[in-house]
């Protein structure tokens, strides 16, 4: 096990990159602590898979270093980096039994058979595959196969990091939830560094201690789920994380106070802004509520999500969403909205003002 450091990492698939747009991955410096659970989150094509392949050694970056512990592994092939990976589509050795699949990485490394047996049984117990050890791996369901892929990483004692590349893609929706919790449970038991790549915010936030949010090859924010939720550094993070995403509306700042269409909005960071009119105001639906005064809006649509209702309100073309808990009251027609000051923030060019 080891700490993972990415230093000045950049990558381009073009042989002779000239401008920023040629890079699939922009300048990146990250430290990942040993034993943590991390997630790389972003929409398709944001460079997260590129980054994953660079860490695993399937791709050599154009610039920068990958350091495991204090060893520079940038030029090392995957098998010498002591990593494990679970792919989007389950990879199992079809002709082997579940037992042999789990034993495969150990046997390849010449581990004595008694030790192999001990490890395989221990891990099989952990991932609930003990009963199927003698079955052919090809006969298992998708979630069983993903567990085998994971198990092949867990049996090894030399693994620096286990990486997951959208591992729940082919899992039946009603089993996703179970497998996700299982991963979390395993991490909390074995404490191996894990990096989880996904476009699904729920998976990323529930799995990871720290999430790296990416967009267009750039890291937009690195933070704990709570930080990403409460203090999105960029409107993209606000939009991408949370369901529904953060409300973003145009605003101006005059004398340290934020105004949205001439209604004063109390915001925790407006005081630090110089006067400007091309700013944006961000507030999550969770932190908006109906009140006797505030921003005048019209209630346009109410969707029942069971535990709460999503209310879509309009002011002109601007949509502002808020969540009302089960049983809460929702006015009809015209209403006023109030934003929680601690969670209402001003952005310039998409970035949080501070």
């Amino acid at each position: 096990m080891a700490k993972i450091t990415l230093k000045g990492l950049r990558h381009s698939y073009k042989p002779d990159p000239q401008e920023d747009a040629d890079y699939a991955l922009q300048q990146l410096d990250v430290d990942w602590e040993d034993g943590g659970a991390y997630a790389l989150l972003g929409p398709s094509g944001c460079g997260k898979t590129t980054l994953l392949n660079i860490i695993s050694g399937l791709l050599t970056p154009s610039h920068g270093q990958v350091i495991f512990g204090d060893k520079d592994v940038t030029q090392l092939p995957p098998d010498q980096r002591h990593i494990a990976q679970v792919f989007q589509f389950p990879v199992v050795y079809d002709t082997m039994t579940v037992y042999d699949n789990l034993a495969f990485p150990l046997r390849n490394r010449g581990v004595p058979e008694a030790e192999v047996d001990k490890r395989v049984r221990e891990i099989a117990e952990m991932i609930d595959l003990t009963a199927t050890l003698d079955n052919r791996a090809s006969g298992l369901t998708a979630d069983g196969k993903q567990k085998i892929s994971l198990g092949r990483g867990l049996v090894r004692t030399d693994v620096n990091v286990i990486m997951f590349d959208e591992p729940l893609t082919v899992i039946d929706p009603h089993l996703k939830w179970q497998l996700r919790s299982k991963l979390k449970e395993l991490h909390q038991r074995v404490r191996t560094t894990m990096i989880y790549v996904t476009h699904d915010q729920t998976e990323a936030l529930t799995f990871a201690d720290k999430v790296v949010v990416m967009k267009d090859g750039q890291v937009v924010q690195i933070g704990t789920p709570v930080e990403l939720f409460e203090r999105p550094q960029h409107t993209f993070v606000g939009h991408f994380i949370g369901s529904p995403g953060m409300n973003v509306m145009p605003c101006e700042v005059r004398g340290g106070k934020a105004f949205y269409q001439d209604t004063e909005i109390s915001s925790w960071n407006a005081a630090s802004c110089t006067d400007a009119s091309d700013l944006e105001l961000g507030v999550r639906p969770e932190f908006v509520e109906f009140g006797p005064t505030g921003v005048p809006v019209e209630v346009a649509k109410v969707s029942d999500a069971g535990r709460f209702r999503i209310v879509d309100t309009r002011k002109g073309d601007q949509s502002i969403k808020l969540l009302v808990p089960e049983g809460g009251e929702i006015p009809e027609g015209n209403a006023f909205l109030q934003f929680a000051q601690d969670h209402t923030q001003v952005y310039r060019d998409g970035w949080l003002m501070s």
């Binding site: 399937l58 098998d79 792919f87 390849n108 092949r152």
Partner: protein
């Protein structure tokens, strides 16, 4: 899967049914007819029952050509399948060379059978052919028209040259269908190249290889033109394979009854062996 009520669908199948009837069923029935009658080719027929079948099955000549056929078929299978897989493994999987390699590979398949026979005949002639002359120049006593061993060597070499490409192309198709993740996972698991071949490539190629074996088996059992052109079954009868023998009996000696019986037996052997191959190779799949 699910059936829908659409009677029109049968109309679309009809042309094929008719074609197959004309193409296969009717000629086959003619052969069945010949095989149980005695005829001298003047349209007079006498019932012969199973006499021809008994004759054929008891004849040393049939046993000998069947034996030669078996040796030939299993030799070329034993060479072409591993060789084809080996070549497929060395072909590039990505990049600009892929189409070039594939076209080069496919070239022998595009040459008509009789041309292949003629080419190799000339190529192997000991006095003027490059192969024959070369071998003799190197000190080998090589003459495929006189020495049975040399004839066999040339025959098998010709078939390997002509048909290995087919195995290569099929095996290659199987290989490129393996997702990258499998190779990456194997690398991460620390698998050596033989383990990758044994546990990833071979299992994934299994289906196409089954097809390759079946095709090569049936084709080689039916091979006629090339050996006929190359050696004419000689020297002596040493390279007289089943099909060559069959034509000798039917056209050379005009023994239509025995020839028909032999064709049917020949047909049944191919059917039986193909079935055996298929079941054996697919048995694991079911488990």
């Amino acid at each position: 899967m699910n059936k829908t009520e659409n009677q029109k669908a049968w109309l679309f199948v009809l042309p094929v049914v008719l074609l197959v009837a004309f193409n296969a069923v009717i000629p086959l029935m003619t052969v069945v007819n010949y095989s149980v009658q005695e005829t001298f080719g003047d349209n007079t027929f006498f019932w012969a029952g199973v006499i021809w079948f008994q004759d054929v099955l008891n004849s040393d000549r049939f046993h000998a050509s069947l034996g030669r056929q078996m040796i030939f078929t299993f030799s070329i299978l034993a060479i072409e399948i591993p060789l084809g897989v080996l070549i497929a493994l060395t072909l590039p999987r990505k990049g600009p060379w892929v189409p070039v390699c594939l076209v080069l590979m496919a070239l022998p398949l595009l040459i008509p059978y009789n041309v292949v026979g003629a080419m190799w005949n000339i190529f192997a002639l000991p006095d003027i052919g490059l192969l024959g002359y070369g071998l003799n120049a190197l000190g080998f006593d090589y003459n495929f028209t006189r020495q049975p061993g040399d004839a066999w060597f040339t025959l098998i070499l010709m078939d390997v040259w002509h048909w290995t490409s087919l195995v290569v192309l099929l095996a290659y198709a199987g290989l490129v269908s393996i997702p990258d993740a499998y190779y990456q996972a194997a690398k991460i698991d620390g698998a050596k190249s033989f383990a990758i071949f044994r546990y990833i490539q071979l299992p994934k190629m299994k289906r196409v290889l089954t097809i390759a074996v079946l095709l090569r088996f049936m084709d080689s059992f039916m091979i006629y033109t090339e050996p006929f052109v190359l050696t004419g079954g000689g020297p002596g009868n040493s390279t007289t394979l089943l099909s060559v023998d069959l034509v000798k009996i039917a056209l050379g000696q005009f023994d239509l009854g025995p020839a028909a019986a032999m064709s049917l037996i020949y047909f049944l052997i191919i059917l039986l062996l193909s079935w055996v191959f298929y079941t054996l190779m697919m048995r694991n799949e079911a488990n």
